[in-house]
């Protein structure tokens, strides 16, 4: 969450994935409860992202089943956070009702506190437009 004095926002990172904590107001902006159409769909899996070449997955692990939910945008180019790029179809939202651990075979486990996170894939320039990193 961005502090009022400067535009610095805290985030966590595992490999190419960035976990940006959201407050209730930002969550409401990204996923309004009274929206005329759903902007995010609930996923029934715990996989945040799967490597195209290695098949290695970033997975969300919880102590108690059902305490973490993953959401995927229903369409691309949804409005993102202030100062940040539009939401891409590879981006996710993670709602953790208790501390969770994100695991990946090549990276050390990342412990995240309870909260809501926008999970953004790092991007790269490809001359025409920025694209999400393919791994």
């Amino acid at each position: 969450m961005a502090s009022q004095n400067d535009k610095t926002r805290k985030a966590f990172r595992q490999g190419e994935l960035l976990f940006v904590p959201l407050n209730a107001e930002e969550m409401e902006t990204l996923n309004p409860r009274n929206a005329s159409y759903p902007r995010w769909n609930k996923l029934q899996i715990n996989v945040l992202r799967e490597g195209e070449t290695t098949g290695h997955k970033h997975e969300v692990m919880t102590e108690t089943p059902g305490t973490a939910t993953l959401l995927a945008p229903v369409s691309t180019l949804l409005r993102g956070l202030p100062d940040m790029d539009l939401i891409g179809n590879k981006d996710r939202m993670l709602v953790a009702q208790e501390p969770v651990e994100v695991v990946h075979p090549e990276h050390r486990p990342l412990k995240l506190p309870k909260g809501i996170f926008l999970v953004v894939v790092q991007r790269e320039y490809d001359e025409i437009k920025a694209r999400r990193i393919i791994d």
Partner: protein, 352 residues
């Protein structure tokens, strides 16, 4: 002990002190039975369908299915659920390995660490003996023939090795079983002689020549590549082509094999900015020739970053107007260029 009810509705929640007694709670499919002595919970029983688990703090936890005991765990006296030291601390039946069921027995060291795990099929054949001291893990089929040999130390924990072996996964689940970052695996056919899968894992990534289900495959830092690319070797690779590979993982693999310095020797470049942590912002000539380059950038701005977990060098392309390493890094995080210039930034509190 206090018994507290929450979320029952306004004025309906309660709490009261309890010194000794029994608490019974029922839901549609679960029955919870708690015994309290001298204000402490001493025993907790959970009954669900035909499964019943009894937990006696500081003593044991037993799970029964019907009349059969399927799991027993023993705890160190004076603790709540720490494993019992210096002997058998868990016995679990009905565990499947290579399509057959058996029993796992887990032993601890005198210091209370996970020491040894033995899997025995129901027909009496020993499936494996995994211990923290052994540098090789042999896994045997129920007919006594070899199934798998893994060079490397197994990492023992509360879950069993048998439950973590997963043939559906490309790494057979070994990432969660092995301690350290490097191991070698050999999988044998049902005859116990013919090798069907064999290869090395280095830094938790498949490396070099692999035999996979009888087929020869080639890996560079976890990425499967063609035989040609693998055998040609880094000396024959075109540095511009390597830097232009769209897949970041494959680009990283080839870049690390070729060597970052060697790549830079072969392309015209200038260092635009450097950081304290070894990162760089580079401008590299794209190496484009011919008539088909209209509209394409003749130079590429690349930011070199080092992954804190794998220590591998990654090179990501950033827009040509980016002027500093920090700006480039922030841009890859998804911040808009104008916002970065206005001072917006993401501060990473934890990276793995």
């Amino acid at each position: 002990m206090y018994l507290v009810s929450r979320y029952a509705g306004w004025g309906r929640s309660f709490w009261f002190n309890m010194d000794s007694g029994i608490v019974d709670a029922h839901t549609k499919d679960e029955h919870l039975h708690i015994k309290v002595q001298n204000s402490l919970i001493v025993e907790q029983t959970t009954q669900r369908k035909d499964e019943c688990t009894t937990l006696r703090y500081g003593q044991h936890r037993t799970t029964r299915k019907g009349n059969k005991t399927v799991k027993q765990e023993y705890f160190q006296a004076g603790t709540l659920q720490a494993i019992r030291r210096g002997g058998l601390w868990k016995r679990q039946t009905g565990i499947s390995l290579c399509g057959n069921e058996g029993t796992v027995e887990c032993y601890s060291t005198s210091g209370g660490a996970y020491g040894k795990e033995i899997f025995k099929y129901d027909n009496g054949v020993v499936g494996y003996v995994a211990s923290r001291w052994r540098k090789k893990l042999h896994v045997i089929r129920s007919d006594g023939k070899r199934w798998m040999v893994i060079q490397g130390q197994a990492s023992l924990n509360r879950g069993t090795v048998a439950a973590r072996l997963d043939l559906k996964m490309s790494d057979l689940g070994l990432s969660s079983i092995m301690r350290g970052n490097s191991w070698n695996v050999t999988v044998y056919d049902t005859d116990g002689i013919t090798v069907v899968t064999q290869g090395d894992v280095k830094n938790r990534q498949k490396q070099g020549k692999w035999l996979e289900n009888g087929k020869q495959t080639y890996y560079i830092s976890g990425v499967q590549v063609s035989r040609e690319l693998y055998e040609d070797g880094p000396d024959k690779w075109d540095a511009h082509e390597v830097l232009s590979i769209p897949n970041a993982q494959l680009r990283c693999s080839l870049l690390n094999r070729m060597g970052y310095d060697k790549i830079l020797e072969r392309v015209k470049h200038k260092v635009v900015d450097v950081s304290n942590d070894g990162g760089q912002l580079l401008e590299v000539e794209a190496g484009l020739t011919g008539d088909s380059i209209r509209g394409l950038d003749k130079t590429m701005r690349l930011v070199k970053v080092i992954c804190p977990s794998t220590k591998q060098t990654y090179v990501l392309r950033v827009p040509p107007q980016i002027q500093s390493y920090q700006q480039a890094r922030q841009w890859t995080f998804g911040l808009r260029e104008a916002s970065i210039r206005d001072g917006a930034r993401l501060e990473l509190v934890k990276e793995t």
